[in-house]
C-alpha cells in the first residue's frame, strides 16, 4: 500500500468514528494571518471546506496609530466578508510599553486612548446607519489581554493588576452602553501555566467575562520537552479548570494548531488524525467555538494555505482531514443575508436562556440514614443545563457515592470523581478531599448534561459509616476504633479483650487497609505497611490474662478504610 492509498483509507476510517450526531452547535473560525487585510484566502478556504467561517480572528495592539485601520479597514473587512471579527487586543505598543502596563491602565493612565478606542468600537458596532441598538448593528468577540498566565506577555506579571485592568477597561465599555448582544468579552488563557501564578488567579469575575477560552498547540516532537500530544492532552486539564472556575460560561478554543512533526512514518497522517481527534473532542466536550490558527509560524500549524498538505485547492496546500471534519460539524446559523449574521443566542452560545430555578421542578431530595443529596440548577440553555449536587451528612461517614440517572448524555462533572455505570447512569465518587464527612458537614460537585434537570433522578446514595469494628470469637473480643481522623490520615486502635476466666493466647490478626499506608504503630509487629497486613503479637502480649485487655494500633496516611479479621 502506498502512502496515498494509506492516507485515503485512514481518512475514511477516521471520518467514520466521528460522532454520528451533532451534540451542539459550534462557531467555526480561523486565523488566516493577515489581520483583516486581503480576505481572498478566507474566501477560498470557505469554498474549499464547504462551510463559512462564523468567526475570523485578527490581532491588534494598543498603538493609537493602529486604531483607525482596525475599525475602518480590518474589522470592517471581516464583517463585510460575512464573519464576526474576534479581535485579540494586546495592551502593548512596542518597546516603550512600560512593564507595569496593567497597573497603569487600571489606574487610568491610558483613559484618553481607551475612550477613543471604545468610541470607535461603538461606532463600528452601530453598523451602517451609525445608530447603536438598531437592526443593522454589528458584533465583535473581544479577546483582551490573552494568555496572561504565560511568561511571554508582560500584562500577566501581576494578577491583581491584571484583574484591575480588565475591570477598568470593561467598565469604560459598559459606561458607553455597549451590551452583550453586540460585544462578547473573551477571557483567554494558555492551556498550561507558564507564569508564577495559575490562570485562575487572573479571572476578573463572572460579571466581567462572557466566554472562557484557551489556546493550545500540539508541538509534536519539535521541542526538547515535548512529545506528540493528543487534543485531550493539550486541552483537557485546562478545560476542567475553566469549568470549575465558572461552570455556566461557554468555552472557546481561541487558538489551536498541530504540527506534523511526529515520530510516525507519515507525518501528514498523524496530523490528519489529530485534526479529527480535535473536532471529536470539541463535540464531546461541548466546546462552543473553535478558531484554528491557520498560519505556519513557529511550526506548520496551518491546514489550509500552509507549506504542506495532502491535497491542493487552487494554489493552496490543504489537509483533507480538516475539510472532512468540518463537514460533519453541527451547523451554526450563519446567515449572510442577515444584517447581524448570527442570532443573539448563537453569538452568546446562549448560556443563560431559561435560567431560573423558579421555572423548574427540581428532582426530589434523596436520603439514606447517613446523608442526603439535593440538586440545584446553576444554569440552563436550549438542550442542556448545569447543576450542583449538595451532599450533607447526618452522621459520620468515611466514604460515599451518589448515583444519578440522566435522560441525556453527560457533558462533564467537576469537583469529585465519577464513573459512567451505563449510558444514562453515572456514579459520583468521593475523592481524597471529600470522602470524610463528619455529622453536619457537606460537600458538593457540579455537572453539566444535555436535556433538562427535571428529567434527572438521584437513583442512589451509598455511604460507609464511620463506626467501630467488632470481631467476636469464643474467647476474645476485639473492637477497632478510629481514634483520630483527618483529611489525608487517621489513627486506628484495636482493643482485644479476653472474655474468659483463663489466660488466652492472642495469635494476631489480619488487617486490610484500602488506600492508606501505615507510618507508625504500637504494641504489635506489622508485616507490611499497606494492603493486607498480618499483625503479630510481641513477646509480652502474646498471652492475654483472664478478663484483661491489650491494645494495639497504628497511624496511617491515606483514606481511613480498614477491615479486620481476628483468627
Amino acid at each position: 500500500m502506498n502512502l496515498t492509498s494509506f492516507r485515503t483509507l485512514f481518512l475514511t476510517a477516521a471520518l467514520l468514528i466521528l460522532p454520528a450526531h451533532a451534540s451542539a452547535k459550534i462557531l467555526l473560525g480561523s486565523y488566516y494571518g493577515d489581520e483583516g487585510w486581503n480576505m481572498t484566502q478566507v474566501d477560498h478556504q470557505e469554498a474549499w471546506q464547504g462551510k463559512p467561517d462564523a468567526v475570523v480572528h485578527l490581532f491588534t495592539d494598543w498603538d493609537p496609530l493602529h486604531t483607525g485601520n482596525l475599525f475602518d479597514q480590518q474589522a470592517l473587512a471581516v464583517w463585510n466578508h460575512g464573519s464576526v471579527p474576534m479581535i485579540s487586543w494586546m495592551p502593548y505598543f512596542g518597546v516603550t510599553t512600560p512593564i507595569d502596563i496593567s497597573a497603569r491602565i487600571a489606574a487610568g493612565e491610558y483613559d484618553l486612548y481607551l475612550n477613543d478606542w471604545v468610541t470607535r468600537m461603538l461606532t463600528f458596532l452601530a453598523g451602517p446607519d451609525g445608530v447603536y441598538s438598531t437592526a443593522d448593528d454589528r458584533r465583535v468577540y473581544l479577546r483582551f489581554a490573552h494568555e496572561m498566565n504565560s511568561n511571554w506577555y508582560m500584562w500577566g506579571i501581576d494578577p491583581s493588576a491584571y484583574i484591575a485592568m480588565w475591570q477598568h477597561v470593561h467598565d469604560i465599555f459598559a459606561a458607553k452602553g455597549i451590551d452583550a448582544t453586540r460585544l462578547q468579552w473573551v477571557w483567554s488563557v494558555n492551556n498550561t501555566d507558564h507564569s508564577f501564578y495559575p490562570a485562575e488567579q487572573y479571572y476578573p469575575g463572572d460579571s466581567y467575562v462572557d466566554w472562557l477560552a484557551m489556546d493550545g498547540y500540539n508541538w509534536g516532537i519539535s521541542q526538547p520537552s515535548s512529545g506528540w500530544q493528543s487534543p485531550t492532552t493539550v486541552f483537557d486539564g485546562m478545560l476542567t479548570r475553566l469549568h470549575a472556575l465558572s461552570p455556566s460560561k461557554p468555552v472557546a478554543i481561541s487558538e489551536v494548531g498541530s504540527s506534523s512533526d511526529s515520530a510516525g512514518i507519515d507525518p501528514y497522517a498523524d496530523k490528519s488524525q489529530w485534526v479529527f481527534d480535535l473536532f471529536q473532542y470539541t463535540q464531546n466536550k461541548n466546546i462552543g467555538m473553535v478558531v484554528w490558527f491557520n498560519r505556519d509560524k513557529e511550526m506548520d500549524w496551518a491546514t489550509f494555505g500552509g507549506q504542506a498538505g495532502d491535497e491542493s485547492y487552487l494554489a493552496y496546500n490543504a489537509y483533507a482531514s480538516y475539510r472532512l471534519a468540518v463537514a460533519t460539524l453541527p451547523d451554526v446559523l450563519l446567515d449572510r443575508n442577515s444584517a447581524r449574521l448570527i442570532s443573539d443566542a448563537d453569538f452568546l452560545s446562549d448560556p443563560t436562556a431559561g435560567t431560573g430555578t423558579g421555572a423548574f421542578t427540581l428532582p426530589p431530595m434523596a436520603t439514606n440514614p447517613y446523608a442526603s443529596v439535593t440538586l440545584e440548577l446553576l444554569s440552563s440553555w436550549t438542550g442542556g443545563y448545569c447543576a450542583r449536587a449538595h451532599m450533607a451528612s447526618t452522621q459520620d461517614i468515611n466514604d460515599w457515592t451518589v448515583d444519578l440517572y440522566l435522560s441525556e448524555p453527560l457533558i462533564g462533572l467537576w469537583g469529585t470523581g465519577y464513573q459512567m455505570l451505563n449510558s444514562h447512569e453515572l456514579r459520583a465518587t468521593a475523592v481524597n478531599n471529600n470522602y470524610l464527612l463528619h455529622a453536619g458537614e457537606a460537600t458538593s460537585f457540579d455537572y453539566c448534561a444535555h436535556g433538562t434537570l427535571q428529567t434527572s433522578v438521584i437513583s442512589g446514595i451509598h455511604t460507609t459509616p464511620f463506626t467501630s469494628l467488632q470481631v467476636d470469637t469464643p474467647s476474645l473480643y476485639a473492637q477497632g476504633n478510629f481514634i483520630a481522623s483527618w483529611i489525608g490520615g487517621y489513627c486506628f486502635e484495636v482493643i482485644i479483650h479476653n472474655k474468659t476466666a483463663q489466660n488466652q493466647p492472642w495469635l494476631g490478626m489480619l488487617l486490610s487497609l484500602k488506600d492508606s499506608t501505615i507510618n507508625t504503630s504500637w504494641n504489635a509487629t506489622y508485616a507490611a505497611a499497606s494492603g493486607d497486613i498480618v499483625v503479630s503479637p510481641l513477646s509480652w502480649n502474646a498471652m492475654i490474662s483472664a478478663m484483661s485487655s491489650i491494645n494495639v494500633g497504628f497511624c496511617a496516611d491515606g483514606r481511613n478504610h480498614v477491615d479486620m479479621i481476628l483468627p
Partner: protein, 133 residues
Amino acid sequence: MKKILSMTLLIFFSTAAYADQSEHELNTTGSCPRCSLSEKKMENANLSGADLSRSMLRKVNLRGADLSRANLSGSDLSGANLTRANLSHADLFGANLTKARIKGANFTGARLAGAIWTDGLPCSLSAAPGVCR
C-alpha cells in the same frame, strides 16, 4: 527503498518549509512575530525595530546584526550567536538567552525582565546587563 525515500522527503519538507516561509515574511515585511528562524544565518542583518516576539531563534546567527529597539519578547534565543549585535533598547522580556554568545553585544537600555540569561539563570539572579525590572 523508494518508499523509504519518499517518506524521508515528506518529513524533510514538512519541517523545513515553514522556516523558509518565516524568512520570507521577515524579508518582505521586516517583522515576523512567532516565527521559526532557528539556525538561520542572518549575520549583520538590519532588524532594527523588527517584531520578532515569541519567535524560535535557537542557534540563529545574528552576529553583528542591528536589533536595536527590536521586539524579542518571549523569543527563544538559546544558543544564538549575538556577537557584537546591537540590542540597545530591545525588548527581551521573557526571552531565553541560555548559552547565547554575546561577546561585544550592546544591551544598553534593553529590557530583560523575566528573561533567562546566558548562564541559564533568571535575569534578576544573573550578572546580566540591561534592565531586569
